[in-house]
């Protein structure tokens, strides 16, 4: 009965996936419920802000610069055809603030900080550090998960803003300094066309949503990882893959909601 076996296998996968989503949702609510103590002891969040946010800065700045420079080059080549080179600043800024900044920064955050979170928590589980904490009557969700979650959520908009700012500078270097687009029109058109609420705020909201999703996936995968070397490596891979797909899918949904007809 090969068809029955195939259906059974599909059914099992669907049930597993639904069950896993349920467990992840419960994990998310527990994280929110137990977040109070980490806000009372804010130094726990600050410590995690350093390892997730500050330590991700280099990769964000370097990537932002190159993405901005590529946008400058490609944008100039395209706009030149229509005689609109002076709109290069607008194109670079809107691309970065609305899309590239939040999305690429979140993808980089997932692969740098997200994978590190998963591996760290998975290894803590494999070496019984989480069990030890529970035996000491310390709730690991309150002590380990919640500070990392909020550090990720707080870091993400700042990293995305940094990515966009450095990217605009990269576009300026290529467009104005190298190619020779007029500097005044580059900045003035950007200033006139970029709207704070429509563009910048929506970009910030996007990066906040990505911060919640990526950090939650990373923490859940680490907490749920089988306590073996293979289990931790598999969880780390899943964090990067699942986060990346979630970012791209959510980006479409959020863009459709925010910029529809704008």
């Amino acid at each position: 009965m090969p068809i029955a076996n195939i259906l059974r296998a599909i059914g099992r996968r669907v049930v597993d996936a639904v069950w896993r989503i349920g467990v992840a949702a419960r994990f998310f609510f527990l994280t929110l419920i137990y977040s109070g103590s980490c806000f009372r002891r804010f130094h726990l969040i600050i410590k995690e802000l350093f390892s997730t946010g500050v330590m991700s800065l280099i990769i964000i700045i370097v990537a932002g610069l190159f993405v901005g420079m590529v946008l400058g080059l490609q944008g100039y080549e395209t706009l030149k055809r229509y005689g609109s080179e002076s709109a290069l600043g607008v194109m670079v800024a809107l691309s970065l603030v609305r899309e590239m900044g939040p999305v690429v920064a979140a993808l980089l955050f997932a692969s740098r900080a997200g994978s590190a979170m998963t591996a760290e928590i998975g290894l803590m589980k494999a070496t019984e550090q989480i069990s030890a904490m529970e035996m000491m009557a310390v709730n690991p969700i309150a002590r380990i998960v919640a500070p990392r979650f909020w550090a990720g959520v707080i870091s993400m908009p700042f990293l995305a803003a940094m990515f966009s700012a450095v990217g605009i500078f990269g576009g300026y270097l290529v467009g104005v300094v190298q190619i020779g687009v007029d500097e005044g029109s580059f900045w003035s058109q950007m200033q006139a066309a970029v709207d704070f609420r429509e563009d910048i705020m929506n970009g910030i909201i996007k990066s906040l949503v990505f911060g919640v999703v990526v950090t939650l996936i990373a923490l859940f995968e680490g907490f749920d990882a089988p306590p073996t070397a293979e289990g931790v490596s598999g969880a780390t891979t899943r964090t990067v893959v699942t986060s990346s797909l979630a970012i791209l899918m959510l980006d479409f949904v959020l863009t459709a909601i925010m910029f529809r007809g704008a």
Binding site: L123, M124, E128, Q129, S131, A132, M135, A137
Partner: protein
């Protein structure tokens, strides 16, 4: 063993995935005593310890500690009980992102409002008791296996628990560290007036320090007694275990098909 034991286990049964792991376990741990639970790997010792710590719920029976049945406690009750317990994990389970000092101070900072000066003095005293005051600034990655176990022991007794559990405290230690850890377990138990439970298969070291021993095999208790009674026991299982004999009730060969048949030899 005692009229008022700290820990009582009665008719404890635990089934995992339809496989019985613990069957009809009855044990008593008197206050102030050091009791060992011994047996081969996979016989259910650690599962039993997890029941005592409240990490697992029994299928039938109960574990009662200081008058309270563990599996009936809610999370707050369980955490309140665990504050009176300490547990040393097999390889220490030190928090790798904290120094030796911060590991020992961890519970004091989490559960008390003591000022940092008093925490400092307490941590130094605990580390002095295990001989590692000089290692307070080191990170867990800089410690040897024996030192890590001693730091974990200092952390375990940080809040002077009434019940201390040890999960394979002698695993992977060199002979000197093994003697040091064994001696510390006995001395700390007596100094704190605590009750200790050691889960181990290191028979020689354990018999030197414990007051009473339970032997487990396949999820049931197969023998019990004082160290002297067990050394003199004529039970096959106990004799094989105590003297480390290769063959006996625990066979050397894992069950399989006939040897000749496996080699494709004709009779």
């Amino acid at each position: 063993m005692s009229l008022n034991p700290l820990v009582e286990i009665r008719d404890l049964n635990f089934t995992y995935d339809k496989r019985p792991v613990l069957q009809g376990i009855n044990m008593t741990f008197p206050r102030g005593k050091l009791v060992a639970i011994m047996g081969l790997s996979g016989c259910g010792k650690t599962t039993l310890l997890r029941h005592i710590g409240g990490a697992l719920k029994p299928t039938r029976g109960y574990v009662r500690i200081d008058g309270q049945v563990m599996h009936e406690l809610d999370q707050d009750g369980l955490y309140a009980m665990r504050r009176k317990m300490g547990m040393l994990f097999q390889f220490g389970a030190l928090f790798t992102d904290m120094s030796v000092y911060d590991n020992v101070a961890f519970q004091m900072r989490e559960h008390t409002d003591l000022p940092e000066e008093i925490i400092h003095d307490l941590v130094i005293m605990k580390l002095h008791a295990v001989g590692l005051r000089g290692a307070q600034h080191m990170m867990p990655s800089e410690l040897s296996g024996g030192m890590a176990r001693r730091v974990a022991l200092a952390r375990t007794v940080a809040l002077d628990p009434m019940l201390i559990m040890y999960d394979e405290p002698f695993a992977g230690l060199d002979p000197i560290s093994l003697t040091v850890i064994g001696d510390l377990i006995r001395r700390l138990n007596d100094a704190l007036g605590a009750t200790s439970i050691i889960v181990t298969h290191d028979i020689q070291e354990s018999l030197k320090i414990v007051d009473y021993v339970y032997f487990m095999a396949n999820g049931v208790i197969v023998a019990e007694g004082t160290p002297d009674e067990l050394r003199a026991s004529d039970k096959d299982f106990v004799r094989q275990f105590v003297h480390g004999e290769m063959d006996g009730p625990v066979p050397f060969h894992y069950p399989g098909v006939d040897y000749r048949q496996d080699l494709n030899l004709r009779a």
